[in-house]
């Protein structure tokens, strides 16, 4: 250190004679500066924290409903029909558009229901087999009735139904992914 280091030590001791008004004033100022700096630092870190937490406070992967067509199109349905929907997934600053096949069919009461074409066994796309009047998965042979209920094969449950809604006479569907290889329907993603 420089030549003044010795001097400064002496002066520090002289200046900080305990209990002197100077010492009290100094430690008060020190405390004030410390508290002030912490407050300003805390204030400045607010934008940083909000910036860093942005993705956690905003859901970016939510899927919107996609239109399938007018309700009237499906009123005379005798067998499942395939419809392709485009789903848009926002992933931070990018988005991915993918096409998913779904089936519009009727349940036993004759109500419209929409099935995902993703096989609940291992996720292959299940085609409709007109001749056999069944859904038959090409990968491992799981088969399903026209309303999607399980008939035979390795799948532990029937084909999964998707949430539907009607808007201005249009059938809408909200696409979701479900866990495979389990007997009950569990939403994932």
């Amino acid at each position: 250190m420089c030549a003044c280091a010795g001097d400064s030590e002496n002066t520090i001791r002289n200046l900080s004679a305990s209990g002197s008004p100077l010492e009290t004033r100094r430690s008060f100022l020190g405390a004030l500066l410390g508290v002030g700096s912490v407050c300003v630092g805390a204030l400045l870190s607010v934008p940083l924290i909000r910036f860093a937490l942005f993705p956690l406070l905003r859901r970016t992967t939510e899927l919107k409903s996609s239109p399938l067509g007018a309700l009237s199109e499906f009123s005379a349905l005798t067998e499942p029909v395939m419809r392709t929907i485009q789903i848009e997934q926002v992933d931070g600053w990018r988005k991915a558009i993918s096409e998913k096949a779904v089936y519009v069919t009727k349940d036993r009461q004759g109500q419209l229901r929409v099935l995902t074409s993703v096989c609940p066994h291992l996720g292959c796309t299940v085609p409709w087999n007109k001749e056999k009047s069944q859904f038959i998965c090409p990968c491992h042979g799981a088969s399903f009735a026209p309303d999607g209920t399980r008939v035979s094969g390795p799948s532990l449950r029937g084909m999964d139904t998707l949430e539907t809604s009607v808007q201005d006479g249009q059938l809408q569907v909200r696409f979701q992914y479900f866990r495979q290889l389990v007997s009950d329907k569990q939403v994932i993603g």
């Binding site: 942005f54 993918s98 090409p138």
Partner: protein
Amino acid sequence: MPSTQKSETNGPPPPATGLWGWLNRRTGLDTLLRTALYEPIPGGARLAYVFGSGLLFIFISQVITGVFLALYYVPSADHAHTTVAYITKAVTAGSFLRSLHAYGASAMVIVLLLHLSQTYIYGAYKGRRELLWLSGCILFGLVLAMAFTGYLLPWDQRAYFATAVGTNAASEIPWIGESLKRMMRGGTEMGTLTISRFFVAHVFLIPACIFALVASHIFLFRKAGAAGPVTESPYKPEQKPEFFYPRQVLMDLSLTALLIIGLGFLCFFVPVQLGPPANPADAQYIPRPEWYYLPIFQWLKYWHGAASLIGVLIIPTVLAVAVIALPFLDRSVERRPWKRPVAMGAYAFVLFALLGLGLRSQYVDMHDPGVAQQLAKQKTEEEEYTRKPFEPALSSASLAAANVALADPLAAKGKTIFEGQSCNACHGDGGVGTAAAPALLNIAAKLSSEQLAELFKHPTAKMTAGGMPPIELPPDDLKALIAYVESLK
């Protein structure tokens, strides 16, 4: 440490008892704090000495904001602009932090010039402080390099063209210029490799050098001691010292507070703009560097051909060497500016030359109607682009899928079959590949239609083992499927 022992036995100094006392015995924190705060300043505290601390504050602010910006930034030609747009338009406080970082660069240059001027005018480089001056000169260069490399990273029109010109200017340096330019760009043209290089320089290399040099700059400062007023001796300070704490600390903190308030208001009310993405094909765009590079920009306009050797190499080199070697060239102990006419004259000359060049470049731009109009147009385009809401970039896989959908009807039919037959379950949407099966992109370049048809009907043993079933389809459908698979890119 003797001083700590004394303080414990002799009583007076720190009431180093309890938690703080224990912490100090283990870490020496209290001693360190005292060493930092009780730096003697010959002749007492002054407002003129505040700029060094101000620089340190801005540097720390740049480091913090820079690290946070890197949370979202991607250094590639495809994504740099999108991610900066995301930061600016979508992320909470993103525009504010980006502005803080961008304006921080300008603030750094301003305070740096003030710090340099103060040191020069006070003759504080003299005597025992040569190395302090030397490390300061290197830091000056590093700060300018940070400003240059950071400017490109948003990859908008302004950034792209300013850097294109900046790197071109480097090629004017005789002999090594062309190699230097290619080295900076990572090739002959500006592109994604240029971003990578600038990013690595801006985020890893130059900051590492700055950290090391700031540390040595502060060390050398404490080693040499504060310079004190102009009447103080440059070798052995004699004037009555005053400690750094509290008056000088308060003065330094005032500058910091001023910087926080000034930058805060500026960033909040006049945030930095982001222009449209870089378009290298734009022949209309007029590039202009940031204000602190304008004098150099203007200077380079005057030197062409053989004369450029003088203007681009000799004069700047002589000037740089003169500045760096100043403490060794100027050995006089006289520090009072009014007794140093040559030094002050040189300072005024350089200052007015830089100012004149900068103003001249502005004047030239404003008095050429074509240029002025184009520059105004560019500014409007930036404002318009910044106002537009953020649009997420479409991922490349989606693009491949979308492109095909518009292609010929046979391929479109093939796409339905591809999905109907669950090919996409393993090969992915648009044949981008999954963990289960390889991508089919660009397969047309490797296999002919006949080879594909054969493979579809009779997959190889390896394909069968991977789970690929033979495809049994009517000939028309098979043709459509092949047309689709061949269209995948």
